[in-house]
Symmetry: C2
Subunit: 355 residues, 2 copies
C-alpha cells in the first residue's frame, strides 16, 4: 500500500458444526475475499474427551491454550491468509470477529456447544488475539448473521427481525425493537432447542424432540438417507457419489434446485417443520421479517418459498396473526462470517469513539 492511509477492513470467521468460512470485509460491507475449510473434528468422537492435550502452539510468554481439535490453529491460519490478501486489496485489517455455534458468554467464552463440545470453555478470542496480534471479538454465529443482515442485508432498516440459521443445527439471531437481543448471559437465540414434541428423538442438548431434530440440515440428510435406503431419491444419491451413507442435506437441496421432484418433496417436508417452529417464534416475537441463513440458505427460493407458503396456510400461525415474509439472507450462507466481520468493525468504532 503506497500513498494515503489504507482503507479499513475486518475479518469475519464463521465456525459451524462442520464448515469454517472466513471473509475479508471492507468497512462498507463489501466482501473482498473468502476462504472455506472443514472444521477440524476429533478422530474418534466416542473416545473419552481429553480436555488438556494437544494444545495450540504457545506464542511468546502466553499460557498454552486448550485446543484439542486444533480449532484455534485452523482459524489462525485462515486469518493469516486473509491478512495477506488484504494487501492486494489495499485495505488494512483492524480486527477479527468469530461466530461460534453455541452459547457465547458476555466474557467471550464458549459456554456450551452441542455440535462443538471439544471447544467448550476455551478462550478462543484470547488465544486468537495472541496468535494473530489483532483485536478479536466472538459471539454466537446466528447473532453474527443477524447483525450482518440487519445492518447490511435483507433486514436493513427493520426493527423486529427473526434470522434463523439452518445448518448442522438451528440457531436464531434476534433483532427486537431495533436492537440485537443477546439475553442476560449472551445466550439468547437457541431456537433449535425449542422442544416440538417431548416424546420425540433425543437431542445432544439432553432434551427430546428439539426443533433441530426435525428441521436442520442434519435432519434433512438423515431423512434423505432413510428414504434412500429404501431405494428412493436416486438423483440425491447420485450427488453423494452413489453412497446412501454419504447423503447430506446439501445433496437434497442441490437436487431440488435442479428440479428433481423426489428431492423437492423431501425439502417440502423440511419446510413444513421449519414453518411450524417459525410460527412458534413469531407468536412470541411478532417479527416483521424472517430471514433464512446458514447452509440451507444456499437453496434460496427452493426453501424460502415453501416455508412462506406453509406459514401462510390456515392453522399454521395462530389465528388473527398476519403472515410474515420469509426471505433468504442477502449474504446467503456467508451471513455469519460477514456479521462476525461487522461485529469486529463495530467493536473498533466503539474503541475509536472512546479515545
Amino acid at each position: 500500500v503506497t500513498g494515503a492511509a489504507a482503507a479499513t477492513a475486518t475479518i469475519g470467521v464463521d465456525v459451524g458444526g462442520t464448515k469454517l468460512l472466513a471473509v475479508l470485509v471492507g468497512a462498507d460491507g463489501t466482501v473482498l475475499a473468502q476462504r472455506q475449510r472443514l472444521v477440524p473434528q476429533r478422530q474418534d468422537p466416542l473416545a473419552p474427551r481429553d480436555r488438556r492435550l494437544p494444545t495450540a502452539k504457545p506464542t511468546g510468554g502466553a499460557e498454552p491454550v486448550r485446543d484439542p481439535t486444533g480449532l484455534v490453529d485452523a482459524v489462525a491460519e485462515e486469518v493469516g491468509a486473509l491478512v495477506q490478501r488484504a494487501g492486494d486489496h489495499r485495505v488494512k485489517v483492524v480486527g477479527v470477529g468469530v461466530g461460534l455455534p453455541g452459547l457465547v458468554g458476555a466474557d467471550g467464552r464458549l459456554a456450551g456447544a452441542p455440535h462443538l463440545p471439544e471447544a467448550v470453555g476455551a478462550d478462543i478470542a484470547g488465544a486468537l488475539g495472541t496468535r494473530t496480534g489483532l483485536p478479536v471479538v466472538v459471539d454466537n454465529d446466528a447473532t453474527c448473521a443477524a447483525l450482518a443482515e440487519w445492518r447490511l442485508g435483507a433486514g436493513r432498516g427493520r426493527r423486529d427481525v427473526l434470522l434463523v440459521t439452518v445448518g448442522t443445527g438451528i440457531g436464531a439471531g434476534l433483532v427486537v425493537g431495533g436492537a440485537v437481543a443477546r439475553g442476560a448471559l449472551g445466550f439468547a437465540g437457541e431456537a433449535g432447542h425449542m422442544v416440538m414434541d417431548p416424546t420425540g428423538p433425543p437431542c445432544p442438548c439432553g432434551r427430546r424432540g428439539c426443533w433441530e431434530r426435525y428441521a436442520s440440515g442434519d435432519a434433512l440428510g438423515e431423512q434423505a438417507r432413510r428414504i434412500a435406503s429404501h431405494g428412493g431419491l436416486g438423483a440425491v444419491v447420485a450427488r453423494a457419489g452413489g453412497q446412501v451413507a454419504a447423503v447430506r442435506g446439501e445433496h437434497v437441496t442441490d437436487a431440488a434446485m435442479a428440479g428433481d421432484p423426489e428431492a423437492t418433496a423431501v425439502l417440502r417436508s423440511l419446510a413444513d417443520w421449519l414453518a411450524l417452529g417459525l410460527a412458534n417464534l413469531l407468536a412470541l416475537l411478532d417479527s416483521e421479517l424472517v430471514i433464512l441463513a446458514g447452509g440451507l440458505a444456499a437453496a434460496g427460493s427452493a426453501v424460502a418459498v415453501p416455508v412462506a407458503e406453509q406459514l401462510g396456510r390456515k392453522g399454521v400461525l395462530p389465528a388473527d396473526r398476519p403472515p410474515v415474509p420469509v426471505v433468504v439472507a442477502r449474504f446467503g450462507p456467508a451471513a455469519g462470517a460477514v456479521g462476525a466481520a461487522r461485529l469486529a468493525l463495530e467493536a473498533r468504532l466503539v474503541l475509536d469513539e472512546g479515545r
Copy 2:
C-alpha cells in the same frame, strides 16, 4: 380535595378471559382501591356471532360502538366507581389503562382474542374515552403485567425478564435488553400458542397442542375434572360445592395450598408442563428471571417452587444453560391491572413532556 393540587393517580383495568379487575393506583405505585367482577359473556357461545348488535350506549354525537357483550359498559362502570373512590384518597385520576387478553395492535384495537372473540375489532380505547372523559390507552394484558413487575415489582432493575401470565390461557410479557418488547405489530408475547406437540388437542387459535392446552388454569381445571370424574380429588370437589363439573383450576390451587396431597400432585404435573414451555422460552430469550402472574399467581410458592425445581432438573433446560429463578409477581393476580394503570401514567408523562 381542598388546598394543594391533588396527587396524580391512574386507573388500570385487566380484562381476562373470565374476570375483570380494576385498580386505582397512585403515581408511586400504591394500589389505593380495587374492584373485581366477571367479564360479561355471550349467553350462547355456539350461536352465530352478530358483530353489529347490541352496541354500547352511544354518548353525545359519537358513533355507537360495537359491544356485543357489554364489555365497554362493564369497564366504564368500574372506572366510574374508582373515579368516585379517588376523591376519598384525595387523588386526581389522569388516565385509564386497559389490558386485554389477545393481540392488541399499535392502533389500540384488539386484533385477535381466542378467549374474547366478541370484542375483536372493537375500538375499546375510543369507546371508553368517550364514556369516561378520560384519556385511555390499551395494551396486551401480559405486557401490562410485565410493565408493572419490571417498573415496580419483582423485576425491578433487571434487563431481561420473562413474565408469564397463567390464567384462562397463557400469555407472556417480555422485557428484552432493558425495554418492553411489543413486536412489529404490538403482537409479541403470545407464548400460550407455542405448539408443544403438533398432534396434541385442538386449540381455539386453530393450531394443535398449544402450550396453554397443557399448562393454563383452564387446563388445570380440565385435568382435575377428569380425575374427579373417576372418584379422586375429594378435597378439590368439596371446594367446588361437591359438583365435579364445577371444578376449576383455583379449587385445585386452594386445596394444594391447604396441603391436600392429591391436589398437590395435580399442581405438580401442571408445573412440569409450565417448566417445559418456560425452558423453550428461556432457550430463545435467555431471561435472567421468570415471573409468574395471572390467576395462578394466587397459588404463590405452591406453584413457583415446583416450577423452579423442574426447571433445574437435568434435561429440562438445554445442557450448559444455568437455571433461572422463578418467582411469583409481587402484585400477584393484580399485576396486569397495576401495569395497565402504569401504562396510563407513562403515557401521561410522555404527554406532559411534550408540552
